[in-house]
Symmetry: C2
Subunit: 728 residues, 2 copies
């Protein structure tokens, strides 16, 4: 019988544990690569470089007085013991020699001398430095606060995970945005609206008594990115989340998250004073309503002293709001702002509003509603604006409110969950989308007035700043429903910390940590990721098309969607295709949505010759034989894009196939299966879209393009009543 090697003592041979771990894989005892560990896998680094790391990091000096200090130590211990296959020695004092020193000037005598240098770091920043202190060779993770140190620890671990040398290490980091927040659209019954990763992570039924260890891992993952806030419940809110029973549950989560620097926020239903307060009105000018919110805030802060504040969706898609009482959005937001202000809380008021009875182009309505309210909000109110004027489409122009409200802090709202981008089965890296949105130039203060500079406050001198991501996190073992969707959580977090980072760099570090730092893995994975979003745009909504998904659940193509309760919930409203042409005229000859942008931008978007072709049909209605820069007529170009999108998915498949053996089998298999789904669905999108538009324009297929294999009626007949994530 084969007896396994047994263990005896040796020095600097910890790397042999790699072999032992591999063997343990056969025993079914090693951790399965099921995605649960996210980018914090902490698997052993190459033996060649482990040596240097062990020398510099094997002796850790770190305080252990506060909860945050303890989690920093624990994370370091977990990370280094895994990465270096050996347990670092940890003390609070340090004996000299090579040391990794953690702390603040207050918590560490080794860091105290650097107090002045740390002053400019801000409350969450940190300094990583390899230096000499009193003759000792030291790597230090220094900050002004425990949280800064924790962030620094995660950064250091990232360096080790990606194989960066620590010689001459000198990194100063501070977050570019103050509030870096996830929005969970989680209902109290465990359903997640637009969730494709299982049910809600929050087990409301067993809270507050049982705090699932997964809550801690959630906090670790967020802290590793610098995410410092989480809105627990759906913006389509239930007032019950503000009742004592649910506040106790939220408080239990806040207790778990607090050591990781994460504040809890709640979505507040504007009519809560009626529904759970017994009042007859929720009018913001009513004294009883004002008192009710003040007392509610007091009650919350008694349970959650660091409660972040309220997120509010009001007078939008059927939600109650101040306009029900003839008051403005500012009146509503200020009502809550006043209640929270004594406690330091903020209101994140969503600008995603559009009225049922307003015939105005939906793309214009948020601007029309809010631009005039600039300056009318309390100082603790932020306006949360989606990246584009419609709704998280594969591609949109930037939202015209960015730059249009200089006296109001505008939060960016990105969607991390892929409601309109293939759910969890399509590999679509959103880093590219976020980057594109943040780098968009509003031109409001001349060139370089980027959306990023609006959001980080630098353009208009705001110190209260924020960014929100609609989470793609559920109780799926992979957290995000797929392995590659973890990258979107990651990219959101990294860009929230520093909105000027490159999506490609972020993809590379994510791939290195998540799969392998081997460049033979990272390079092709990054290639796939960087091409993926444009592929999705191509096979779903090329050339500026938008909102042509199936009704309600948005699963699959539905360019024929028409009728129903409101025009702007149909596809035909947006593409306006007929026998002669296609596209939404938003120039001054049409809805004039272009006028909401700064003149330089408006001129470009409004000129069919200058508009980026990627937004052509967003802003212009053009004939089917309109010539594009390629020389092809529009119809041919459109089909070309659809087909190109499908091909790109096939290229991703080939790339992924080539990684077999370099990526662990369990994850390789799942990604391969999902890529097959994506290929089928990309083809479906292409065929259904082509069949539909062809039914309108009667044009032949362009040369070399295969006709759709089914008649249009077939695609129109497909029904998916249980597609996940639907609203209620």
């Amino acid at each position: 019988m084969l007896t396994l090697p047994f263990c005896c003592h040796g020095r600097r041979r910890g790397w042999l544990l790699v072999a032992a771990l591999a063997l343990l894989g056969c025993l079914g005892s090693a951790r399965a690569e099921d995605g649960y560990a996210l980018w914090m896998r902490y698997v052993p680094v190459e033996p060649g470089i482990a040596h240097e790391y062990r020398k510099r990091l094997g002796e850790v000096v770190a305080p252990d007085q506060t909860a945050t200090q303890r989690v920093a130590r624990e994370e370091l211990q977990r990370g280094l013991s895994g990465l270096l296959a050996s347990m670092p020695r940890i003390s609070t004092e340090g004996a000299g020699g090579h040391m990794l020193v953690l702390g603040t000037p207050e918590s560490s005598r080794w860091i105290a001398p650097f107090r002045q240098e740390l002053e400019t770091l801000g409350g969450e920043g940190y300094l990583l430095r390899q230096t000499h202190v009193a003759g000792h060779d030291v790597v230090m993770v220094a900050a002004r606060s425990d949280i800064g140190v924790l962030y620094g620890v995660f950064h250091l671990l990232r360096l080790v995970q990606t194989g960066v040398s620590l010689d001459h290490l000198e990194i100063r980091e501070s977050p570019g945005i103050q509030l870096r927040v996830l929005n969970h659209w989680d209902d109290l019954d465990g359903h997640v609206e637009r969730g494709y990763a299982g049910g809600s992570l929050w087990d409301w039924h067993t809270l507050p008594d049982w705090q699932d260890p997964r809550y801690t891992d959630y906090a670790r993952a967020n802290a590793s990115l610098g995410i410092n806030g989480t809105v627990l419940n759906n913006v389509n809110a239930n007032a019950l989340s503000l009742t004592p029973a649910y506040l106790a549950k939220a408080a239990a989560l806040a207790d778990v998250f607090r050591p990781y620097g994460i504040r809890v926020y709640l979505s507040a239903r504007f009519s809560a004073p009626i529904e759970i307060g017994g009042l007859r009105t929720a009018d913001p000018f009513d004294a009883d309503v004002q008192r009710w919110w003040r007392e509610k805030a007091d009650e919350i802060y008694a349970l959650i002293p660091d409660f972040g504040g309220f997120l509010v969706k009001a007078n939008s898609e059927g939600q109650p709001g101040p306009q029900d009482y003839g008051r403005s959005h500012a009146d509503g937001a200020n009502l809550l702002g006043d209640a929270l202000a004594p406690h330091g809380g903020v209101v994140m008021w969503r600008a995603f509003v559009y009225a049922h009875d307003v015939p105005e182009d939906r793309a214009k309505q948020a601007y029309s509603e809010f631009a005039g309210l600039d300056g009318a909000f309390r100082p603790n109110v932020l306006l949360q604006v989606k990246n584009g004027p419609i709704d998280f489409q594969p591609r949109e122009p930037f939202h015209p409110l960015f730059g249009a409200m200089p006296r109001t802090p505008l939060m960016m709202e990105f969607q991390i969950t892929k409601e309109y981008l293939g759910f969890a089965t399509h590999l679509v890296y959103l880093g590219s989308l976020y980057e594109e949105a943040l780098n968009a130039d509003t031109h409001v203060n001349g060139e370089g007035s980027t959306v990023a500079r609006v959001v980080d406050g630098s353009l208009d001198g705001h110190t209260l700043t924020g960014i929100a991501g609609v989470a793609n996190i559920g109780n799926s073992r992979t957290w995000s429903g797929s392995h590659f969707d973890q990258a979107n959580w990651y990219a959101f977090g990294r860009l929230a910390w520093n909105p000027r980072q490159s999506a490609r760099d972020i993809a590379a570090e994510w791939a290195a940590m998540t799969f392998s730092p081997d460049s033979e893995v990272v390079r092709p994975v990054v290639e796939m990721m960087m091409a993926s979003r444009e592929a999705a745009v191509d096979y779903m909504t090329p050339l500026g098309l938008h909102h042509v998904m199936a009704r309600g659940h948005h699963y699959g193509p539905g360019p024929w969607v028409d009728g129903g309760p409101r025009a702007d919930w149909t596809s035909v409203y947006y593409h306006r295709a007929d026998r002669n042409g296609i596209g939404f005229d938003r120039t001054r000859h049409g809805s004039n949505a272009v006028s909401q942008y700064a003149p330089a931008v408006a001129r470009r978007f409004g000129d069919v010759a200058r508009v980026p072709e990627s937004l052509l049909l967003w802003f212009h209605h053009v004939p089917w034989d309109h010539r594009l820069r390629s020389g092809r007529p529009l119809w041919d170009e459109l089909v070309h894009h659809y087909t190109r999108g499908v091909r790109q998915v096939q290229t991703m498949q080939a790339t992924w196939d080539s990684l077999q053996g370099r990526v662990d089998a369990p994850r390789h298999r799942q990604v391969a299966a999902f890529l097959r789904i994506q290929e089928n669905e990309a083809q479906w999108w292409r065929d259904a879209s082509v069949a539909y538009f062809q039914s309108l324009n009667g044009r032949p297929m362009p040369d070399g393009e295969a006709p759709p294999p089914h008649p249009l009626a077939y695609y129109q007949s497909l029904q998916f009543p249980f597609a996940p994530g639907d609203g209620r």
Copy 2:
């Protein structure tokens, strides 16, 4: 820096890997004890006994030609390498010496000589034997089929897990019941009706393309118990599950389960011919309807050649059925039976029916409906009968249909999920409940005519037999929502294999495998388990009370529930308490439900002096000062039981606390937290029930009993709109 031991070669020292594994725990790389492994943890056995096992089991001879043969090999490899911390050598031929030999007479030359001896084992039985074959010392796992071998492998692994010596091993096993089936009440949108373990295990959206490895682990767990069938969807069925798209998904699951001997069944909605077939009727006498079901069966079997058949809930709680057309349940069942018969499928027709407009005692209605149909069913139809006449209460008398339909195969339907027993947070071991139900004596053919003998067919000479368990399985990491609820899945499976096993023995083997074979763990854990069901009866429904839970979701006490759509969905219907007395008179002076039992049983149940006190209020309405055997008046006895239930939970807590350090910390913590919830809720049950009944009878608290801390109105005011598992 502490460098970990590195590995070099040695013999028979694999047990040192235990230490290595412990160290790896610190590295965060070892498998967390999160419950996912169920009772198949395969952690190393004591070094002292590992030696014998290694000698006997280190050399495995096993065929590898069929899928089932391969999964048997894999399981053995996974199990032994974990348990013995060393990888067995596996071949198909065997070199002699000590050998573990797997196979059938056809698949193994070592087993071929035992052909005759195996004849009596049946298709799923197996023989485990330590013997000598041609001079070699052999442990054999022999069977007539690959599935029998797989079952034998799991049995062998169980022996090793529980530390049983293999010397003189001689075990012959065959299942006592033919169809051993889980019923999943899983909706197509992922909701699980009466599910307390997260959402559905089936990710319909990604099926059939993606087959989650968890499906395989589900199949392993079931095969380890001998469960050989699974009904994938809710008995409150959606006809869409019979459409081509969903059949393809079911077929993909069937492909995963097939090597493990598990057949897929579907719940069929009786009106499917209308809803998805385009017919105007579902009348079983209609020729088009008959053809539709025949063609549907053909379509299913083309995709799933070993499809098990249909489970049907008809004319019950709003479901459509044959009575909608003036036909009988037999007419309905036979319609489907005829469609399935050519393919060898069966119909499992549920007897859980009660009519909206029938004023008869609900406990009587199933018998009234079905007893007269005995003999009217096709040979491939089984009648699936819940263990008691109401609905999975903490305690019920056995269902009077058992024994009353000798010409019809009666399946037992147990509920594994704890709809009425505290959901997943209460520790209630159901093995005791199942045992009590199976051992109940119907007396229909004289003493010893137990329910078990009805179900296993021996009483009436049926060969088609079955038992169903309503699954407590969801996508929770623990599978069952808690660690101890895994024991209920386990106990169901073990009793399905052999309905004469003792609940205590089953608890002991489960505890040994799940926590530790250390008797210092097993003994107290078994104590807790064996006392737990009676504790729940005490704090919820003592002395024969039933169906007094809160309305709809059944979470918590609701003895005051009254009104609503139907009387038999209220509590007052069942307890009938007033100023003078309490209990449902089911004697001949009342509803005469006792008359549905055999005379000997009827006499006992109908006599207030002879009825078991545990069923007193089930069968009798008695005054509050009725004296019980304890000498106490009923009111005092009732309060005494409530309080005793709470105390028993406290005892369980103390026992569990004493196991700290002997049970791994993650699971110890979760169980402890859940026990705290259980204690709080047991107290809540006791206090609310006492407050309510006291409001009716106006009696003082018995001596030494604390009054409820809140007024009745408080308990009545509690609302839990999002309690999990509610029906739709």
